[in-house]
């Protein structure tokens, strides 16, 4: 699929710039050009597709669907899938959280949504696809969905309503389904300019992190020997996975740049499960998100919430190391 891009990178670096494919510098620059273009193309494509899906997505209908039907556990899967397709911007998460609770959707299902929404997003999917290929990207999405379901289910069983902030508890007491539905009547042609502009804005906003990430990755790719990290980080060290998740939490703003670096870490010997656990920590748990959640949750609940998700992330890290 990207052969033409590799040919272009080869042509640019080896023919136009005249560097040898045998040198570290030539390899590193080739890797940089190829990866940057590939990731930007994927990113633009996927954010545009998600923008179209989002534009047509009937949020109100989904909420009513989730609150009315008894689905014997399937509602967790729906809530999680719903989390996957809602936008990168985490600021819609909290209004949606309240909207769900207000509509009478159980807390566990709402949590499932709240966990999956930031964890599996289109930007991360695009970069995973570009950096690791379809198999790992699929593992990432599936893990995110399963994590959301398990995390939400566990949190739902813990009876945490009393740890929500008082006004949210008030919202729960007055929960009711609403029937007022209205959807916009605009054609795809009318919607497209806005969607494309938004996709471009997302790409522009994170471009610098990606370029830095790939540059660092490229340098390491060219200069570090294969298996370099195996001596330091391997599957036998039990503490590597928890440490990776904890280290990932404060790194939120650089999620876009972290993935290309991690790609190289894996190529040089870091176990894939440990790497995925780290990236889940980077993408899924963030301090800005905790500040946003403060409005609806007490610190006790935020701690339980983060703790539960971190626990499942660590678990999936071990599982991948065991399976892969």
């Amino acid at each position: 699929m990207f052969d033409w891009l590799q040919s272009f990178a080869d042509w640019l670096i080896y023919t136009v710039a005249g560097l040898s494919a045998q040198t570290h510098l030539g390899q590193a620059l080739n890797f940089f050009v190829f990866d940057t273009l590939k990731i930007f193309l994927l990113l633009f494509f996927i954010t545009t597709v998600m923008g179209v899906v989002n534009s047509y997505f009937p949020v109100e209908k989904v909420r009513n669907f989730l609150s009315r039907k008894k689905m014997y556990g399937l509602e967790y899967l729906f809530a999680s899938g719903f989390g996957v397709i809602t936008p990168f911007c985490s600021c819609s998460s909290v209004p949606l959280f309240i909207g769900f609770v207000k509509g009478g959707i159980p807390l566990g299902i709402t949590f499932t949504y709240l966990i999956t929404a930031p964890l599996v997003n289109e930007v991360a999917i695009a970069i995973f696809l570009g950096a690791f290929g379809p198999k790992v990207a699929a593992i990432y999405v599936a893990t995110g969905i399963i994590l959301g379901i398990l995390g939400g289910f566990t949190l739902g069983k813990l009876k945490l309503e009393k740890y929500l902030t008082p006004w949210v508890q008030g919202v729960i007491r007055n929960a009711a389904t609403e029937d007022k539905l209205e959807s916009e009547k605009r054609s795809l042609r009318q919607r497209m300019p806005g969607i494309l502009k938004e996709a471009l804005d997302i790409v522009k906003g994170i471009a610098i992190y990606i370029v830095i990430g790939i540059a660092v990755g490229g340098a390491m790719h060219g200069f570090l020997p294969t298996g370099f990290f195996e001596t330091y980080i391997n599957k036998d060290q039990w503490y590597a996975v928890p440490l990776a998740v904890i280290m990932g939490v404060p790194m939120y703003s650089n999620a876009a740049g972290v993935i290309p670096v991690v790609q190289v870490l894996v190529a040089k010997g870091v176990p894939l499960g440990t790497a995925i656990a780290f990236m889940m920590g980077v993408i899924g748990l963030s301090l800005p998100e905790a500040m946003l959640l403060k409005k609806v949750m007490t610190w006790t609940l935020i701690a339980i919430y983060f703790g539960t998700i971190a626990f499942f992330m660590i678990l999936s890290g071990y599982l991948f190391n065991f399976l892969l």
Partner: protein
């Protein structure tokens, strides 16, 4: 006229707010513009997706950035 922009302070909400100001400047319409960032306050209007553009207490655009041209049309209706 009373215009409200609802959103918890993300870039999209700021763009919408600035677009409103620009649209008002271009049309020369008089309006009181409010930016609501407090989630508790926001939920009184029953919104699920942000940003939301309200004109005279009616939700006109939600879940996406309203562009200047669009707002100008809504203003002159």
């Amino acid at each position: 006229m009373n215009i409200k922009v609802l959103g918890p302070g993300c870039p999209k909400c700021k763009t919408t707010y600035n677009n409103v100001l620009e649209a008002l400047k271009q049309t020369g319409a008089e309006a009181q513009v409010e930016k609501i960032e407090d989630i508790e306050e926001m939920m009184k209007y029953n919104v699920l997706t942000t940003p939301v553009l309200m004109i005279d207490e009616v939700v006109r655009i939600k879940g996406r950035v309203a562009d200047i041209k669009e707002i100008k049309e809504l203003l002159t209706q």
